[in-house]
């Protein structure tokens, strides 16, 4: 048994994309987004998927892929944020939680790196989205978020020691902020917030994850 619980947050409605279904279920080159992520997690023995909006549909797709996922309900998904989802899922979990926003697609090679990590980290990338949360860095550590002209963007991926965190109803950043400064990892990924992001993610996969 490893000391890691992977948490994938899929409770939100994804209103900006307006797909009419949870973003975890949107089709990326022939497969639902969450299946692409789960395929990279085949060797992980403890996965939690947080569900809210159309929970039943997400559960159906995930459990047909693997049955040993624990589903955690965020019944308040219409009011609260990803921080609430992670706060719920971290209860009774293993020592470390690796949290992944359900609307991102990570490069498979980078996922392998991430899974090898034995310490806490913040996942960052080169600024690419329209409205990035930039990170401040000092002495090779992330010290704060919402840094003007920060060199990197927050990704929605982070590994944290579960017990140190005080639950929040807000953004997952409110959890990470509690334990800064932390080391960081540069991750290649695509976040899918808008129809344009969606199109770009599909092209990325079709091109074999080449930028």
């Amino acid at each position: 048994m490893s000391n890691k619980t992977v948490i994938i947050s899929c409770a939100g409605m994804g209103t900006r994309l307006g797909a009419g279904k949870p973003k975890a279920l949107i089709d990326i080159d022939g497969k639902p987004l969450i299946i692409r992520t789960l395929e990279m997690l085949n060797d992980v023995d403890d996965i939690r998927v947080v569900v809210g909006y159309q929970a039943e549909r997400v559960i159906e797709v995930v459990k047909n892929y693997r049955r040993d996922v624990v589903f955690v309900y965020n019944h308040g998904y219409q009011q609260n944020g990803t921080g609430a989802s992670v706060s719920l899922a971290k209860k009774y979990s293993r020592k470390y939680i690796l949290t992944i926003d359900g609307d991102i697609l990570i490069h498979p090679d980078d996922m392998k790196e991430i899974l090898l990590s034995e310490t806490e980290f913040v996942g960052v990338c080169k600024p690419s989205t329209d409205d990035p949360v930039l990170v401040g860095i000092k002495d090779n550590k992330v010290t704060n978020f919402y840094q003007e002209n920060g060199p990197y963007e927050w990704t929605g991926v982070t590994m944290l020691e579960s017990r140190k965190l005080t639950p929040t109803d807000g953004h997952v950043l409110h959890l990470v902020e509690q334990v800064l400064p932390l080391g960081y990892k540069i991750i290649r990924e695509r976040e899918i917030d808008t129809p344009n992001d969606y199109k770009n993610a599909i092209i990325w996969v079709e091109n074999g994850y080449k930028d």
Partner: protein, 208 residues
């Protein structure tokens, strides 16, 4: 003791549904299936359905039913949890005392269950004294323990809703849709259920 675990019996602890399995033995499978499905989906009031299902089987000697029930296959990981946490685990079932006693003994839960009670004359069921309201068990427990409830059917709804932590288990059959609205967790693999419940126990006991 910081945490109490309340387990539904039928298709949560057991791997087969108890009454349909017995009905099959006496060629009343279809009638039983229909009643059971309607009940699980919440289309037939539980008490009415339970009485009808007992009637289907009440001509079979009680001893024979008890024997069949005791041979029902169970989820080993869940029984392991029960035996490791005997002091703070209970089975909560609307099934009848006279039918399940032998099974309870077999899985090490003698005296560790709440159930419905039958009137028996000459080894035949002649009536039901009381159908257990599953959510009443929480009120009977006087300790201030945190309550964790595990179930899969419509008749587990109130028990799960009133629990501090509610887990719906879909390892044997589909979880009743109503439970998805009130569950904290849904689990489909018995080993994962074992791991989750053990983690809950360890963390709650550590906080004591």
């Amino acid at each position: 003791m910081n945490t109490v675990f309340l387990f539904d019996l039928d298709s949560t602890v057991t791997k087969q549904e108890i009454l349909p399995t017995i009905a099959e033995e006496i060629g009343k499978k279809d009638e039983m299936r229909e009643l059971t499905e309607k009940t699980m989906m919440g289309d037939l009031p539980f008490q009415e359905s339970f009485r009808s299902r007992v009637e289907l089987l009440n001509q079979i000697p009680v001893a024979k039913v008890a024997e069949l029930v005791s041979e029902i296959s169970v989820n080993d990981a869940i029984v392991k949890f029960l035996n490791e946490n005997k002091e703070n685990s209970f089975i909560v079932t609307s099934n009848l005392d006279v039918w399940i006693e032998k099974l309870m003994n077999r899985i090490g839960m003698k005296g560790r269950y709440y159930c419905s009670h039958a009137k028996v004359v000459d080894d035949k069921i002649v009536g039901i004294k009381e159908i257990l309201a599953k959510d009443s068990v929480q009120d009977m427990l006087t300790s201030k323990a945190k309550i964790v409830a595990i179930g899969d059917g419509s008749n587990d709804y109130d028990m799960l809703r009133k629990a501090d932590v509610s887990v719906s288990f879909g390892g044997v059959r589909e979880i009743a849709p109503a439970l998805l609205d009130i569950s904290d967790y849904s689990v489909y693999d018995e080993n994962k259920l074992y791991e989750l419940l053990t983690a809950i126990r360890n963390e709650e006991d550590a906080d004591e």
